[in-house]
Symmetry: C2
Subunit: 328 residues, 2 copies
Amino acid sequence: MLINVPETVVADALRGLAAAHPELNVDVENRVIVRRDAPVAGQVALLSGGGSGHEPLHGGFVGPGMLSAACPGEVFTSPVPDQMARAAAAVDSGAGVLFVVKNYTGDVLNFDMAAELAEDEGIQVAKVLVNDDVAVTDSLYTAGRRGTGATLFVEKIAGAAAAEGQPLERVEAVGRQVNDSSRSFGVALSACTTPAKGSPTFDLPDGELELGIGIHGEPGRERRPMMTSGEIADFAVNAVLEDMPPRSPVLVLVNGMGATPLLELYGFNAEVQRVLRERGVPVARTLVGNYVTSLDMAGASVTLCQVDEELLRLWDAPVSTPALRWGM
Amino acid sequence: MLINVPETVVADALRGLAAAHPELNVDVENRVIVRRDAPVAGQVALLSGGGSGHEPLHGGFVGPGMLSAACPGEVFTSPVPDQMARAAAAVDSGAGVLFVVKNYTGDVLNFDMAAELAEDEGIQVAKVLVNDDVAVTDSLYTAGRRGTGATLFVEKIAGAAAAEGQPLERVEAVGRQVNDSSRSFGVALSACTTPAKGSPTFDLPDGELELGIGIHGEPGRERRPMMTSGEIADFAVNAVLEDMPPRSPVLVLVNGMGATPLLELYGFNAEVQRVLRERGVPVARTLVGNYVTSLDMAGASVTLCQVDEELLRLWDAPVSTPALRWGM
């Protein structure tokens, strides 16, 4: 690993993020990443966070048109309530703060406590829970479905609503609509290695893959001998569509887990698009890249988000963050 | 690997790129990626290309403000002259075409032949050779120094000059200035696996790293027991500064080779910035991410580009490509 010692991995990364992105205000000690112009008068603030190791999620999504702040925890470990409450206070303009929470037990608990702390300070808080992963119900880290790729869609689209000055109830409703309209399915071709452990977090032999993997390497549905990119696309897209029958056009996220080359991700996207064509699902927009990762895990996930005209308009709205930027 | 069969990896990726980026014109059969609005009247066109496996280089850098077209070869294999000549004809507006060529024997030879073909068709051609890697002189694929991370700086900055309507001689001079002002040094923490071979291209035992690696896994200067991120930053930045004594402010590219998590790249950036501070080198801009990769190799490279006010202005100019986008 390209690290100093496991204990400083998150702090080191925050110092490096600060150096590369002067448009962000990075509080390394308190582990809060805030857009430099926060709070923005008249706008609802969006706050998210979670364990580190999923970069660019969430710190790479802080900026105009998306998150107001992000709180990174230790690797694969929830941030703490004080950290979130501090971030909420830094970004609240008086219009309220929307918490975007991936459905993992630690995150849910800590964001709930942070909401209480923030409300005690007179900050209006609303929450959107992201639980888009159709692979399994309940897992090592979750009661209910896990939150994965749809987080990007929720943060971008609700962030655009907030940037337009929509009120808290409306930004929250948009975020919920995005989550309710999104489903994901992921596969692992290799395990990931956490800095603290220094060796793979689970055992996945060469020549096998795990279907329905979580973003911490939590077990999925089943393990199989290696499949082709086309077979994996069939399995993943059909798993999503089984849970969410095709209706309106979709946003497609073909997301790399970390170590799969972009060359392969684009090839996988070709197969995902083929399956969608065969199933008669119109595609509105496609995003391919490493956005919601799992350290150095090889593999990919597919997220579909069904959009109406309004959600598509908000998706297309300008955004300026380290990892997602267009229109400004 | 997330592929169908090795033979279709590049074609599959191009189909997937086309689906995700309707703003590009992707000719899958002839392997040419062109911005959809090409040729752009009154503007010099920029054309690059090289072996696949380094994505987003070059296809991900096609768009307003950067490349007009890119020609991907097979994995780690030069594209062919016909392909380049076809691309040149597609993008030439009459103002001429600048070829950006990484210094690998096959690329140099084939771009030279393509230039002759294009000139036979009445197209004015100029060339910039990129040879920024200070690690070794001559290698498996190169006579002289290898072209690596500086390619991004050359394509972005010369692309901005072209977008302003500067004439061919001037765009070429800007490209050369950028290359002459840039140096790189890379390290590998693991080997990469090509689709055709299906196993690591060289043997790098766990717990060792290769200092001065090339982007195809060509051997570097030396192999050592694993070093910390700080030690690697000291070695890499000092290797660069030994070859190019500190002068004006620099652009910094902290580039991932493919499989190293963004969390680690940002941490490495913190150490790179520390060394630059210690050496008294002012930093103008920093870019961190996977831009000039080597399939699933773990590791990173550091590129410094010394800029004057004019180069910095061109760096900051608007760009809109799949992998690099700001200001538009």
